[in-house]
Amino acid sequence: MSSLLLKGARVVDPAVKLDVVADVLVEDGMISCVCEGGCVDAPADAEVLDLSGKVLLPGLVDMHVHLREPGFEYREDIESGTRAAAHGGFTAVAAMANTNPVIDEGAAVEFVISKAEDLGYVKVYPMGAITVGLKGKQLAEMNDMVKAGAIAFSDDGAGIQDPLLMRRAMEYAVVFDALIVAHCEDEKLVDGGVVHEGLVATRLGVAGAPSLSESLAVARDIELARLTGARLHIAHVSTKESVELIRAAKAAGDVRVSAEVTPHHLVLNENALDKTYDTNFKMNPPLRSEEDQAALIEGLLDGTLDAIATDHAPHAPHEKELEFELANMGTTGLETALPLVVESLVASGKMDWSLLVERMAHGPRKVLDLDLVTLEAGSVADLTIVDPEAEAVVTKDWLLGKGKNSAFLGRTLKGLASDVLVDGKLVMRDGKIVEGE
């Protein structure tokens, strides 16, 4: 097989305590050496990429993505979604189960895996549903899905309302040491709310969902994980109270709990919404207060929140260009996440590149119990290369995913992925997707 010499990038990986300008030689899909001061023993026929001025990282993973296939291919499909993922600098994504049909049996998991192998630009790890049809009534066949390759289990899209059912799901998950990814939302307390119950609800004259509708469910699920010993991951944390509960649980040390936060909750708050009722700012959980936003950043920095995950939720125009209260919830995220984090957290000095690697590469892999990709000989060459100076205006044309419902349309973002390698193969080169043969 061919070899690829990645020359002159700043190579960052806290797992091997690396932050240095070095060459990286990739052979047969694996890293064969990381050499400070230049690679002298690279094969003469190696393709050489000059990456000076760029930053080379272990491949980023987005552990919360809605690829929409099967069933909602008009919003996104495995091909378009993974293309968007590569464009955004990700080498792997975990796909949520709220498709049609729902991914609630082994055959459905196999479908996603085989489709992704055929057409995917990046790796896809399917999640299975916790309950049949995501209806929250009856446990789905977990063993069948584990055998087929499901990475975790989630009813994401809606919370499991019945505490007994969640208890049974966690107890059963212990049999396989399977990860339960919880969408924490008490629907009774949401009571029809479509924005944060705070300033914005009053300002816009729409019903609000209180922070408690999330944190009460977070508290419940942490206690259930404590009771059952299950591995619990809290999806899209949005409130300061939830951060506090997770921090306390981790400090207690007797619960296996992890958590993620979305880029939009890190960089936006409810003040993004005004009387223009832009439905691209309608998401679930809603954008919360400035205080919540600050608590999420703090939680991300101190490790309470393990991963940044986008909750990439593509929708068709006719599902978004509606009355605010009727529009679907969600923003796309795959293509904007990295530059948003680089801009608002790295460039601003709040975090360094090593911490970005922890939260966007190592963190999600640890949560999903995957082997880490490390920048050392013998590791799989899933790599993300960032050009900290590259800029783009987020437009519908610039976004490669089918869903154009980005909360960041019109914004200029700086710090884009330039090149992406999956198993040593370039899927993006100089900001352009490398199309399959």
Binding site: E197, G198, L199, A201, T202, R203, L204, G205, V206, A207, G208, K275, T276, Y277, H318, E321, L322, E323, F324, E325, L326
Partner: protein, 311 residues
């Protein structure tokens, strides 16, 4: 030339204080015309106005329609029952359809907040919000201000109590900030479940105690409580609500200022937020509000459309 800066009236904040006062001034003239035997002016002859009422309404719609007729505008009524929206046509399709018909103004009433803004993005016409969800109802505010100004001689310096289901009321959403802006003090009187999340955002103070606040009020603006939302959840019972927050004869006689006035945007629930004998109290100006509604809406349409191209 339009006599207001904003092309649309979506929220009360679209009108400056001076523009609001000019509406009230013009409405005074129109109100006199409404007392004449021949109640018609040629002002908006040749202008087309659509009343897009996608939620049931009797008084607001009737008021706008009459106001249009008296200004000689051509109006078209499009109501929820006859609407294409029930056949799955989206709001945007409806907007584009009327836009293609070249109408000058659309009055829109809708169940959901922000709908009037959506129309502005798909139409050239002036848009007037006739009430959107639980958000705002700016022309109701203008007629309330007119009535207060007419009966009290001023707005500045008054203390106004808004009593009832405030969080689910589009009336309070427009009225409170406008009153505040014009120098009045606003107090929301209701149990917590009926208070907005952040009352200060609307410029209001909060009280749970009607009896304590009532003696201070110059204007008592009662709002209806929404039956289906009320009993057993937001309040234990209608009876208990009426006992605590209903304006009854005893309260009106013993706690209310002699020169205070009572307003209600309607529809009224007798025996809940207001009793029949209080409706008959000379300090109650509910029908004056309805009367002012036509004149105020004439003033709004005249100021937004009057003298535009074509004249």
């Amino acid at each position: 030339m339009s006599m207001v800066k904003s092309k649309h009236l979506l929220n009360i904040e679209d009108f400056t204080n001076d523009e609001i006062l000019a509406v009230l001034e013009n409405a005074k003239t129109f109100k006199e015309i409404n007392d004449r035997p021949i109640k018609k002016l040629p002002t908006l002859r040749g202008r087309t106005i659509v009343n897009l009422f996608l939620e049931p309404s009797t008084r607001t719609r009737g008021s706008f329609e009459l106001a249009q007729k008296r200004l000689s505008a051509d109006s078209l009524n499009f109501s929820a029952s006859a609407s294409a929206t029930t056949k799955g046509e989206s709001l945007i399709d409806t907007a584009q359809t009327f836009d293609a018909m070249k109408v000058d103004m659309v009055i829109v009433r809708h169940k959901y907040a922000g709908t009037p803004y959506v129309l502005t993005q798909h139409m050239d016409a002036h848009i007037v919000n006739g009430g959107d969800g639980i958000n705002e109802h700016p022309t109701q505010t203008l007629l309330d201000l007119f009535t207060i100004q007419e009966k009290m001689g001023r707005i500045e310096g008054l203390t106004v109590g808004i009593v009832g289901d405030i969080v689910h009321s589009r009336v309070a959403g427009s009225l409170a900030p406008a009153l505040k802006r014009l120098g009045a003090r606003v107090i929301f009187v209701a149990p917590p479940a009926y208070q907005p999340v952040v009352p200060e955002e609307l410029g209001a103070e909060v009280s749970y105690d009607f009896d304590a606040v009532l003696p201070e009020l110059d204007v008592v603006c009662l709002l209806r409580i929404q039956g289906e939302r009320a009993e057993g959840l937001s309040v234990p019972s209608i009876r208990e609500y009426a006992g605590l927050y209903g304006l009854n004869k005893w309260r009106a006689d013993n706690l209310m200022k002699k020169n205070a006035i009572i307003l209600h945007p309607g529809p009224m629930n007798r025996g809940v937020e207001i009793t029949a004998d209080v409706i008959a109290d000379p300090r109650t100006y509910v029908l004056d509000q309805v009367n002012a509604g036509v004149a105020t809406r004439m003033a709004v349409m005249y100021m937004m459309l009057g003298g535009e191209a074509g004249e």
